[in-house]
């Protein structure tokens, strides 16, 4: 059959027709807003005023950002939160997965229950734990009373509110680590473990020398994904404490939100967004290097 030139040209266009709608939507909804954030960050523009009243400010917003103690406090809170919450989640999740690795009857039902905290809306999670930690009637304080401990004003104290935020995140996301690691352990080649066992490796050696090294790429990806989420997080804390008391639970995403919609400084909040974007992009590039779905075929 003879192939006419127009149909060959048509064939070359086919993939572009397929990707065009998705690409256009992502350009309009993601790429254009990022570009606009970059543009806005060079302007001083109070919210609610006309664009005409916006003033070209050059790098002023970035200077203000780097000098602002609030920015560094919020960054510090976020880093401490990510560091503490994610380490606890990793240690707990990996330990539980190793301990409960053996497939047992009924595991599917339990796994379903463990998924629930990450499926419900983040604002529901914030609501639930604002209630749990309430100073007057919160179940946490009632439980403390049951144990003979003094009740605490959890969300009114700087350190306790931070701890409450960490506990909430651990509650919500440890199951994610557990499920990822469990899937990795159950999917790994068991003849390696068997060989190690025959060679006389004890339970601990099997874990540290064989299992953990084999699933290391998945551990790292899980860790990075949790860290990225720590920087993205906003809604749970919006409902739970709105960043307070003071700035003690003001994660960076919430700080950006407040700069825009409370302080009404659009240009300045755009500059903060660019900083957050840089941090998250570095982290996700690291994920890409660890788990590139395209890497197999490129070899």
């Amino acid at each position: 059959m003879h192939v006419s030139i127009p149909s060959a040209r048509l064939a070359r266009l086919t993939p572009y027709v397929y990707i065009a709608p998705a690409v256009l939507v992502m350009l309009a909804g993601l790429v254009l807003p990022i570009a606009d954030a970059l543009r806005l960050s060079f302007y001083d523009w109070p919210m609610g005023t006309d664009w005409d009243s916006a003033r070209w400010a050059g790098l002023e917003a970035f200077g203000e950002m780097l000098r602002s103690p609030q920015v560094w406090t919020s960054m510090g809170v976020t880093l401490a939160f990510v560091l503490i919450a994610v380490s606890c989640e990793m240690v707990l999740g990996v330990a539980l997965a190793l301990f409960l690795e053996q497939p047992v009857r009924g595991m599917r039902a339990f796994r379903t229950v463990f998924v629930l905290p990450m499926m419900i809306a983040p604002i529901c999670v914030g609501l639930i734990w604002r209630y749990m930690f309430d100073a007057n009637f919160g179940p946490v304080n009632q439980f403390m009373g049951f144990l003979g401990l003094a009740p605490q004003a959890w969300l009114a104290d700087h350190r306790l509110a931070f701890a409450a935020m960490v506990v909430t995140d651990i509650w919500q996301w440890t199951p994610f680590v557990f499920i990822m690691v469990l899937a990795a352990l159950q999917g790994m080649d068991h003849s390696i473990v068997e060989a190690a066992r025959i060679d006389g490796a004890n339970w601990w050696q099997q874990i540290v020398r064989v299992k953990l090294p084999v699933i290391k790429p998945i551990l790292i990806v899980t860790l990075l994904m949790r860290m990225i989420d720590g920087f993205r997080g906003l809604e749970v804390i919006y409902v739970m404490t709105f960043g307070g008391p003071g700035q003690s639970t003001e994660l960076f995403s919430l700080h950006i939100y407040k700069a825009a919609f409370v302080s009404q400084k659009l240009g300045y909040s755009a500059a903060l967004s660019i900083l957050l974007l840089a941090v998250v992009t570095v982290l996700s590039l690291a994920v890409l290097m660890m788990a590139n779905p395209l890497k197999g075929e490129r070899r």
Binding site: P33, L40, R105, I120, L127, F137, S273
Partner: protein, 281 residues
């Protein structure tokens, strides 16, 4: 990744300790949610009682209040419309794009795939201000379609990534055989590829629906009193003088219910979606 498929009859029972730990973990997961559910059935005086009590006469008064005063039926409808439209559009556009990326070699394919992967982690807080500004300029702020557009855009990267993996696993020979049998490109896709994509589509639709149904901050910024979604209406119950606990927990239960039901119906697909990409050999 498919874990070794295990015949439920042959799966051994675990030790009592194994089940004891699982039970404690399940209790820790469930108890806070259950307590919120119970609170939504209490009167204000019972809630503010400093001693928790399991014994009380449940009342639906809080639910009545949020429906009658809170316009919650309208917000529920908005949420449903937005979530369904966003899910449908994301699946359609995402499947087309993932199919082209898996089956064609074309200029721009690699940059597109990397861009998709990077955009997956975009923080919503970064989008908030510029989307608000652009949507206002385009005149689609305060409309349902404006919210749908940003949700579809937010969901596409993950959906494309997930479906790409599934399409790649469909042997090309299957498609070639169908083409030789006289199927056109559309028929090949519809009759051969699409049925094999079902698990991936199921996982993608659950995660898209979850984001659209649960999302709060962008909806809060982009909607007004009429177009508000259910999660964004929560802020009505947090005032300067305190939280209206009865009503807010009732609204919270209504928001949490659909994802909870989904989880019980499609736990397997959810696990697929959660572990996709990372657990992939």
């Amino acid at each position: 990744m498919s874990a070794r498929t295990i015949d439920p009859e042959r799966t051994p029972l675990g030790s009592p300790l194994h089940y004891a730990i699982l039970a404690v973990l399940a209790l820790v997961c469930l108890l806070p949610m259950v307590l919120m559910g119970i609170t939504s059935l209490k009167t204000e005086t019972q809630i503010f009682n400093t001693r928790w009590s399991w014994l009380f006469v449940p009342t639906l008064a809080n639910y009545q209040a949020v429906v009658q005063e809170g316009n919650i039926d309208r917000y529920l409808l908005n949420s449903l419309k937005i979530s369904l439209a966003a899910t449908l559009l994301t699946l359609m556009l995402g499947t087309m794009c993932a199919y082209a990326m898996a089956r064609f070699r074309f200029l721009g394919r690699e940059p597109l795939s990397y861009a998709t992967l990077i955009l997956r982690t975009l923080p919503p807080a970064v989008l908030a201000v510029p989307v608000y500004v652009i949507w206002s300029a385009w005149g689609i702020s305060d409309t349902l379609s404006g919210v749908v557009l940003v949700y579809v855009a937010l969901n596409l990267p993950f959906t494309i990534w997930l479906l790409y993996g599934f399409i790649e696993q469909v042997p090309v020979e299957l498609e070639e055989a169908a083409a030789i049998d006289g199927c056109g490109p559309f028929q090949v896709f519809y009759k051969v590829v699409l049925p094999l994509l079902k698990p991936g589509l199921a996982a993608a639709s659950i995660f898209t629906f979850r984001l659209a149904w649960n999302e709060f901050i962008l909806s809060f910024i982009l909607t007004n009193r009429v177009t508000r979604t259910l999660p964004a209406s929560i802020s009505n119950y947090i005032t300067d003088t305190g939280v209206e606990w009865g009503k807010i927990t009732a609204a919270g239960v209504l928001i949490a219910l659909p994802p909870l039901i989904f989880t019980f119906v499609a736990a397997k697909q959810i696990i697929t979606g959660l572990t996709a990409g990372a657990v992939k050999g």
